[in-house]
Symmetry: C2
Amino acid sequence: MDLLHQFEQAEAAADDGADRPLEEIPGRDELQQKLEELHPADVAYILESLPLEERLTVWQLVGTERDGEVLLEVSDAVRETLLADMDNQEIIAAATNLDADELADLAPDLPRDVVRELMDTLDAQQRERLKSALSFDDDQVGALMDFDMVTIRDDVTLEVVSRYLRRFETLPDHTDKLFVVDLQGVLKGVLSIKKLLVTPDDQLVADVMATDPVIFYPGDDAGEAVQAFERYNLVSAPVVDSKGKLQGRLTIEQMLDYIREENETDALNAAGLVEEEDIFASVWKSVRNRWAWLAINLCTALVASRVIGLFEHSIEQLVALAALMPIVAGVGGNSGNQTITLIVRGIATGQVQMAHGERLLRKEAGVALINGLVWGAVLGVIAWFLYFNIPLSIVLMSAMVLNMMLAAFMGVVIPLLRMRMGGDPALGSSVLITAITDSGGFFIFLGLATLFLL
Amino acid sequence: MDLLHQFEQAEAAADDGADRPLEEIPGRDELQQKLEELHPADVAYILESLPLEERLTVWQLVGTERDGEVLLEVSDAVRETLLADMDNQEIIAAATNLDADELADLAPDLPRDVVRELMDTLDAQQRERLKSALSFDDDQVGALMDFDMVTIRDDVTLEVVSRYLRRFETLPDHTDKLFVVDLQGVLKGVLSIKKLLVTPDDQLVADVMATDPVIFYPGDDAGEAVQAFERYNLVSAPVVDSKGKLQGRLTIEQMLDYIREENETDALNAAGLVEEEDIFASVWKSVRNRWAWLAINLCTALVASRVIGLFEHSIEQLVALAALMPIVAGVGGNSGNQTITLIVRGIATGQVQMAHGERLLRKEAGVALINGLVWGAVLGVIAWFLYFNIPLSIVLMSAMVLNMMLAAFMGVVIPLLRMRMGGDPALGSSVLITAITDSGGFFIFLGLATLFLL
């Protein structure tokens, strides 16, 4: 139960750190001792939970030989603050304990001259791997794979395999299968550990191995790899080049990290943030992280404002319009977000295709019509109690219906068009649909009012 | 490469189905044949990608003995449509091939009398397990664990263990460790398969096993289990009761499902949807799924509208206020969503505690002040070009600053208060903060204008 206990210790330590200055806690040496006993992931967690000054104090207590592992575990934002506190020699010392695939994760955050220096310390194979990993995008299999593979030949018996494995000190994490390759390193199949354990050991690898495993190429999209891992319950899978030569492997661990980061990105973009933010970041850093979406929002708000500006004369004559117009815009925005979210998710899972466009349009239009009529009627009645103006209530209800239909139409068409044009339908979809339903809602409501009420 | 190929076939089949009527495709028998070759997850994917009529046609082609597996794989919304098409006998026939933990996943969607009948077909142990699984919440470990464990004793050699394993036809998926129990079933440790493979086989299990594995209790929170799986790179872990007796195990597969569902729920709630929606659901079903959040939105919009109503007299005198007020509300909403999202996420990961409140307030207030001054000034200049009214520009800028400060304050305080009161800080956080910044923004801007401009 040691690890679970450590987990709790880590949380307790994080609590402590936040409540009182570091020196008062268990004493420096005792703390250093405690940190050494913790899993690197727990040390990372403590560092993330501490404000900057205390974070750096604790960071100095972490032994150099563990610095690399901890740097891999902390979030990007916190990693930056830790690296900023280290000189080049310290960084190089920390990085020498890492594998090529781990270095590749770290490299983008390191100073250029440090990366060059690190390259020189690697042997030829490691250098090749690092270069290869750096040549892929973050969302390609090539950037996620590691090189901790156990390979075997197919012309030996399982007994030989077992004896071979016994010569290892330990097997790589997530080794649920061995990769069977020929002399040229071409993948011929995989031997699952489960199979190895239940099969009589006088059999040949060639007779027992699976010859049709799920494989990936370094250029494959990581999102699709994640789907395959989920669908086929994989723990690890081989990555091969176009000639079938084994290049590395993907593990569920990297898939989990990828899912976590994707969800993070989606949630942050939806909230108008560019990237993950260290919760204790400086005010200036936070301002930089937030200004882009605020600027976009300001532009769309300005457009909506100008639409209202077109009808200032109408508002002067019937000021109730000013009070009612945000309702039309707001409810339309909510409704449009519902539609676009479903369509974007359907596209992401592959369940929505261009061919479905018309059917989806009909359905969403139907939903919008019903919702618009129901809520428009509710609102019309409320408006009547407020202003005793039946034509105004009718205009309000009509504007609700029309704006929700607009929202439904745009909610289906925009993501489909962006998919056809090869873009990412998710990015900024909420901002886009809200901009349309705001300006559209104001235009429809004030326009109808101008036509029929004045 | 077979599975990857199947994957593509599945997508192709789904494409086909959408483009032309089912009868024209490969012919019924051929399609049935194809379906039989597919992984249940791929069949589920095809079913999800088809409109209702075609979906049911394909569903009838799936063999009864595979119905259960496919039902487990499809999304909740699609499962409902499939079950609606089956009579009780068919459901029971499909369910008899499932384990207790799988039945538990299905049971909430089944008619009550079917569940009762299914209970009767189970043996005592399976029935106990099903009842136990059903007694836990969806987000508790007890509802997620399965019972596919391989247990061994600690007083035997590794050679005996290897011989024991060879008597299995196959080992359960995700078996990366064996559970070591005593005669009473109390967990004494775990033997990782990796360890088993690299250790000389004359050693005793007791000398080789890990005595401090990460363990879980059935009442544990699933979210925390997910964090532990990620932190310690687990593939499987034992679940024990309060006396240490082995009850079941968690695997990375269930953790992945849980992560997926949690993210789904968050994304849907953020977009104003109650639950996942079958993309081809009927209009009426969709209306039901969406009305709750629309109603909430309507209420908050009404409040904002009444705030504007208070100032109708001011708007009549200076109609530019009507055009400018949505900008103050909108940018404040964006800014407030940025803050509350970061705080909610920080609380979810445990990095934000009550003790941090004051520090976070200071930081967020600083960010809001800078952003408010910068964007307020930009906006003030633009407003001047539109209305040539310097006092109006100053009021606009002041309102921007104040509303963004309000957003920052509420964005920190609301989630912390909800955490202290034991609620879920994430639920509806965006709706709540937007309601505040809308009404607050209108009140601040129109109030200042009434005081200083009229």
